[in-house]
């Protein structure tokens, strides 16, 4: 399908069930929203991500954590953007929650306690991006050797590695 301009105005997206629900729950936690290429993205304040996931789960708007990952926008600051891809099998709909993290304080609350599937995904992000998840039961490297230095998927880490 040809590209249409993204809708970035929160006012226009108010009627969307998920946006409406999150705004009704805690309007301060919703920083912005974007509807682009048939996908809804909602930026959530860092402190509220766990509660936001909790809320969507409790309201039946998302019942499955598809994916959890991160992207590094170095040298921009804040450089990290966490992406939580939630799926509702009942409503057949996806939503992406995003949290922006700064490089000097890359910590976010873990959602593993409520979604056990986040366990490996968060370990992977910790290993490859160096983001710390508060409340994760077992935050250790998963892909790289235990004694590895650095976080390979950061943009300031060379593609060939350090030699």
């Amino acid at each position: 399908m040809p590209l249409t301009p993204a809708i970035t105005d929160l006012e226009q997206l108010k009627d969307h069930a998920i946006v409406a629900d999150l705004l009704a729950w805690n309007a301060e936690a919703v920083q912005s929203a974007r509807f682009d290429r048939d996908e809804l993205t909602i930026y959530i304040a860092r402190e509220s991500i766990r509660e936001a996931c909790d809320r969507l789960k409790a309201q039946g708007l998302a019942d499955f954590l598809s994916d959890l990952t991160c992207a590094d926008f170095y040298p921009r600051e804040p450089r990290f953007e966490m992406a939580y891809h939630l799926l509702s099998m009942k409503r057949k709909e996806r939503v992406r929650l995003k949290v922006v993290l700064g490089g000097d304080d890359a910590t976010v609350e873990s959602i593993t306690p409520m979604w056990p599937s986040a366990n490996f995904f968060e370990r992977e992000v910790f290993d490859l991006f160096g983001i710390r998840f508060l409340g994760h039961p077992y935050l250790r490297r998963i892909m790289m050797p235990e004694d590895w230095e650095g976080h390979p998927l950061r943009k300031d880490y060379p593609v060939e590695g350090y030699r």
């Binding site: 290429r37 994916d67 926008f73 992406r96 490996f120 490297r141 998963i142 892909m143």
Partner: protein, 400 residues
């Protein structure tokens, strides 16, 4: 991963011990290492240790042009490379807003289903061999060989096909290709009967599988199970039917669901999927539209060889795409498809240049592996082998 300075699991009581299974173990289907804390022969705790095959594909993708990533995606899940190609190219096409001609879409569906069959054949053969049924393996690989020949015919490669490209297909299918596919699809149901004759009524096979490694629907959803492994627990959800992509809404097929959530249920679901995939491939073959196999997008799709020889413009576009790549408008997409193992998803972030800023693969095996400890704890070591086979993991996809 690997060389842990201290044991990951500490024996909680004196009577338990730690057993190391893998990474060199024939029935871990690759380089999977499992740390088992056992009490006699019963597993108290289990912990998968992965990363032995980590090649940093996601990092490599960031250094390549968009079209150069396609061959890398083959190598993630080497049992169904075209399904990975499909997921990646669909994600990029979504970023570009590119329309794909119907013939290319139907070819994609047909080949994706053939890949599902060949992937399930490897699963069936190795799973049965893990349990002790040797001959099924030989039968399965006989049919898989036919399929590999079909892939070779269409793409020039048996395994790392890279046949789907951004904007369509690499080549038009050659003469005689559809006849060959038809021949395979016509005889395939008999072959499935043959496997079932060997396994479905087999007392030993049933005893080893029934009631083993159970997982409930709630637990499965919470731990991130997808695909046939989840459907065997009674969750009736298939991306092909429920969130159709690539023209799957045009095909009629059943989604096999079972309720027991044990290894046997997963076996039953997958064997039925073999038959259903054959149905889809047959429908695609019979209704194959004619027309071009590439989208009309000269800045993205490589021009035909013939045009390059006669038209200056085509030659310039070809040169540009090969040397500089093509730029992709800024944005991010998450494209998910139903791979033979479950939800395969590509999350691509574009910053408006010719190289992706981030490519993340949500591989189904990675999430499915998390369910293994829940399935095995409290059961015998011998059941671990059955459980690993039943979630059908590919380590290339887990470690990436």
């Amino acid at each position: 991963m690997g060389h842990l300075p201290n044991p990951v699991l500490d024996p909680t009581e004196d009577k338990t011990m730690i057993l190391n299974m893998g990474p060199q173990h024939p029935s871990t289907h690759g380089v999977l290492r499992l740390l088992l804390e056992i009490d006699g022969e019963t597993i108290v705790r289990m912990m998968p240790d992965i990363g032995f095959l980590h090649t940093g594909i996601e990092k490599t993708c960031e250094a390549k042009f968009y079209q150069q990533v396609v061959p890398l995606t083959d190598r993630i899940d080497y049992l169904c490379p075209m399904v990975n190609n499909l997921c990646y190219v669909m994600a990029v096409e979504k970023l570009l807003g590119l329309e794909i001609p119907p013939r290319a879409q139907w070819m994609r569906v047909m080949l994706a289903e053939l890949q599902r069959i060949s992937s399930h054949l490897v699963w069936l053969g190795t799973h049965a061999m893990d349990i002790g049924a040797m001959s099924v393996f030989l039968y399965c690989f006989r049919e898989r060989e036919d399929l590999l020949r079909i892939y070779e015919m269409v793409s020039g490669q048996r395994m790392m096909t890279s046949y789907f490209r951004i904007g369509g297909l690499a080549l038009d299918p050659p003469l005689g290709f559809f006849e060959k596919v038809k021949k395979f699809l016509d005889v395939f149901p008999e072959k499935v009967d043959e496997y079932e004759n060997l396994l479905t009524g087999n007392r030993i096979f049933i005893d080893r599988l029934k009631g083993v490694a159970k997982i409930s629907a709630e637990d499965g959803l919470a731990i991130g199970l997808t695909g046939p492994s989840l459907r065997a627990s009674g969750v009736d959800f298939d991306l092909r039917r429920d969130m159709p992509y690539c023209g799957y809404e045009n095909f009629k097929f059943k989604v096999p669901v079972a309720n027991d959530g044990d290894v046997w249920a997963r076996y039953v679901c997958r064997v039925e999927e073999l038959r259903q995939s054959r149905e889809i491939a047959k429908q695609a073959l019979e209704g194959m539209p004619s027309g071009p196999t590439k989208a009309e997008a000269p800045k993205v799709v490589l021009p035909d060889r013939e045009k390059m020889k006669t038209q200056m413009e085509a030659l310039i576009y070809h040169f540009k795409i090969v040397t500089e790549g093509f730029t992709v408008p800024e944005g991010e997409v998450y494209q998910a498809i139903e791979s033979p193992r479950g939800e395969m998803g590509y999350y691509i972030v574009s910053d408006g240049t010719a190289k992706p800023l981030r490519v993340h693969m949500r591989s189904p095996s990675y999430a499915n592996l998390q369910a293994l400890p829940q399935m095995c704890e409290g059961r015998l070591i011998a059941d671990v082998v059955a459980a690993i086979g039943s979630i059908d993991i590919v380590l290339g996809e887990i470690d990436r």
